[in-house]
């Protein structure tokens, strides 16, 4: 079985300061991991993905995430927050060893609401 835990339901940072959104996962197989962003009244958009290549993954809008197998973590970071980063962020694990069932192996975290203070 697989699961994903986003450790913070809300994160508030000041504009220009670093962002850290935490995600821990469990998987019995070799996972693929994703971060999605959802701006208000919009669908989800892929930020970045890890699929067993480089452990440090760079995404859009200056975000990056590091896959740490020993810590079973895939935290999302950005050096300097911008007001436009205010959104909901979802961590997703895809169990590539499975097919079918449970939305084809995809498990979403409950989301982290990122607030940017001016």
């Amino acid at each position: 079985a697989q699961s994903v835990t986003q450790l913070d339901s809300h994160v508030s940072v000041s504009e220009g300061t670093p962002v850290l959104l935490r995600c821990n996962y469990s998987s019995s197989y070799s996972p693929s991991l994703f971060w999605y962003v959802q701006h208000p009244n919009k669908g989800l958009q892929l930020l970045l993905k890890y699929t067993s290549a480089a452990t440090l993954v760079k995404g859009i809008n200056g975000f990056e995430a590091e896959f740490k197998k020993s810590e079973t973590s895939f935290h999302l970071t950005k050096p300097s927050a911008h007001m436009s980063d205010a959104a909901e962020y979802f961590c997703v694990v895809s169990d590539r060893g499975r097919t079918g069932g449970g939305a084809d192996g995809l498990t979403f975290g409950k989301g982290t609401h990122l607030i940017i203070q001016p």
Partner: protein, 118 residues
Amino acid sequence: GAGVSQSPSNKVTEKGKDVELRCDPISGHTALYWYRQSLGQGLEFLIYFQGNSAPDKSGLPSDRFSAERTGGSVSTLTIQRTQQEDSAVYLCASSLTRPGQGTTGELFFGEGSRLTVL
């Protein structure tokens, strides 16, 4: 079209009425997903299609919910005898799949259909 298209974008209905929500996925995407997102909640998986078949219907909350997909393309989610607790945003996503390996995990989302049941 270039992206996943959902209609209607907003639907207000009276309790007890039936509603149909439509999803037009990206051309060539064989996997299609329906999720429900209630206010302040994460994504709740409803159903997953691979082509026209639904290997996973485990998320449908009751027998009032049904979905079909025809021609490997457009999908319709139908809610019969709507209740106030059905009020939510219904998100559709599509994805490429790899034979024997399931989805690539990268989902492309529509902007959702916001359902309000009075």
